[in-house]
Symmetry: C2
Subunit: 250 residues, 2 copies
C-alpha cells in the first residue's frame, strides 16, 4: 500500500464566521495539497478565541501529518494565534530574537517607528522556526507539525510556496472526471456496484444543477493508474448502456 | 445581558477537501445567520466518512443552539449523511414513509423510474422532520438541533430560506466598519487600549494589502447601539490624532 500523508487546516478569524470576509485560502490549500499528494482530511474555521484555537490545533495535530493555520498573526490585539498555539503546545510565547531583529531593521531602514504593536509580530512559541514572508517581512512559524501562516491570501500563498517543498508527500491521488447528462438518480445503483467491485478507487458523484436540469459529474480517484483506468472504464461503459433514453431528473 | 444563540456548520464532502469544488455555502450561511442575530461559532469541513461526520456533529450539537450540515444527501453510494447522522444520534436510519411517497409520486407523474438510488433520498434517521426542497423535491431533515441540507448551493439556499424563520434568534450583533489608510502596525497599540476600555464591544482589525501597500479595516461590533457608538467614536478620534503623518507600512 502506498504511503499516505494527511493534513488538516485551521482557519482563524471572526471575520470569516461573520461573513464579512469570504475565505479564499481553503480552496487554495486544497488545490496545492492535492497536487503534491497530501490528503486534506479536515478543515476547521474557529473564532478569535484562545481555547477554541488551541482545541482545534491539539485535536488535529495528533491525527494528521501536518496542520496548517491561517490568520491572526498581525500586530493588533485580536491577533492571538501565536499565544494560542503556544498555549496548545504548553510552551511560553515571547519575542523571537531573530524575528525581532528582522522587523527592527526592516522598519529602521524605512524610517518607520517599531511600535509595540509591530513588536507583537515578533512573538512566537518557544522552539518555533520561521516561515519567511517575502511580502511583508513579519514571519509565520512552524512548531512541531503545525505551520502558522498569514490570513491575507497574497501572504498566505507566498508563505505556502516556501513551505510546500519542505513537506513529505505521499502517493498522489490521481483522478479522472467523467461528465454525464444523466441525473444521479439514474446512475446511482450501477455506480454503487462499480465502487463495490473497485475497492482501491474512490468514486465520487457530484450533482450539477443548472437551469432546472440536473446532470452529474463522476470523479474516479485512485493511487494506481491501473485501478483508475479499470474503474473509469467500467463507469464509461455503464453510462453508454444507460444513455440516452433516460429523461433528465434527479 | 442579551440572549446569545450560537450555531455551528458541518460541510460534508471530499470534493471540497480535494479542491475540486470551491465551497460557496459557508459564506452564505455566515451572512444569513449574522443578519438574524445567530453567532456562527465554528465550521468544520469533513470527508465522506461516517465516523468523521458523526464526530463533528456530536461535538458541535452539544455546545451550540443549532448545527447546520450541507452535502451528502443525494442518491449515490457516497451520499452517507443520513446514515452518519443516525449513527451520531444512535437511532436507526431507514425509509421515511412521507419522503418515500413524496418521491414516488414525483417520479411517477414524470414517468421516471423510482430507482433504488432515488429511494435512497427517502432514507432518514428515525424521528427526523422534513425540510422542504422546492428545487428538486428530495427533502432535507431536522433531528434534534441538527439541520441536514443539500450541498448544491441553489438547493441549500432554498432549504435554508424555509428553516431560518423557524429559528430562535438572539440579540443581533451590530457593527460599524471604519477604514483607515494607516497600516495595522501604526494603530495596534491605541486600538488595543480602546478594546480594553470598551469590554462590551468586539473590535476587529483586518489588514488589507493592495499593490504593495497596507491599509486597515477596523470593525467594531456590539449588541448595544450605545456601546458601539462609544467605541467607534473612540476609534475615529484615535485615527484623527494619528493621521496623516505615518508613512504606509504594516
Amino acid at each position: 500500500m502506498s504511503k499516505i500523508v494527511t493534513a488538516a487546516m485551521v482557519v482563524i478569524g471572526d471575520e470569516i464566521l461573520s461573513g464579512r470576509t469570504k475565505d479564499r485560502n481553503i480552496g487554495h490549500l486544497a488545490d496545492i495539497l492535492t497536487a503534491v499528494g497530501i490528503d486534506l482530511k479536515e478543515v476547521r474555521v474557529v473564532s478569535d478565541d484562545r481555547d477554541a484555537i488551541a482545541e482545534a490545533i491539539n485535536q488535529l495535530r495528533l491525527r494528521n501529518t501536518y496542520v496548517f493555520t491561517t490568520g491572526g498573526i498581525g500586530p493588533t490585539h485580536d491577533d492571538i494565534t501565536a499565544d494560542s498555539v503556544a498555549h496548545a503546545f504548553g510552551v511560553p510565547c515571547g519575542y523571537d530574537r531573530k524575528a525581532y531583529t528582522l522587523l527592527e531593521q526592516h522598519y529602521a531602514t524605512r524610517g518607520i517607528a517599531f511600535s509595540d504593536a509591530r513588536k507583537r509580530m515578533a512573538r512566537m512559541p518557544e522552539g518555533a522556526e520561521h516561515i519567511d514572508n517575502p511580502v511583508s517581512v513579519a514571519p509565520g512559524f512552524r512548531i512541531g507539525n503545525v505551520y502558522v501562516m498569514a490570513g491575507v491570501p497574497a501572504i498566505f500563498q507566498a508563505m505556502l510556496d516556501t513551505v510546500v517543498p519542505t513537506l513529505e508527500t505521499g502517493a498522489k491521488l490521481i483522478s479522472r472526471t467523467i461528465p454525464s447528462s444523466l441525473p444521479e438518480g439514474a446512475i446511482g445503483g450501477p455506480l454503487g456496484d462499480i465502487q463495490a467491485s473497485n475497492p482501491e478507487t474512490i468514486i465520487g458523484s457530484y450533482p450539477k444543477y443548472q437551469d432546472g436540469t440536473f446532470w452529474t459529474e463522476i470523479v474516479v480517484r485512485s493511487r494506481s493508474h491501473e485501478k483508475l483506468a479499470a474503474a473509469a472504464g467500467a463507469v464509461e461503459s455503464m453510462l453508454e448502456t444507460l444513455q440516452p433514453k433516460q429523461p433528465l431528473a434527479r
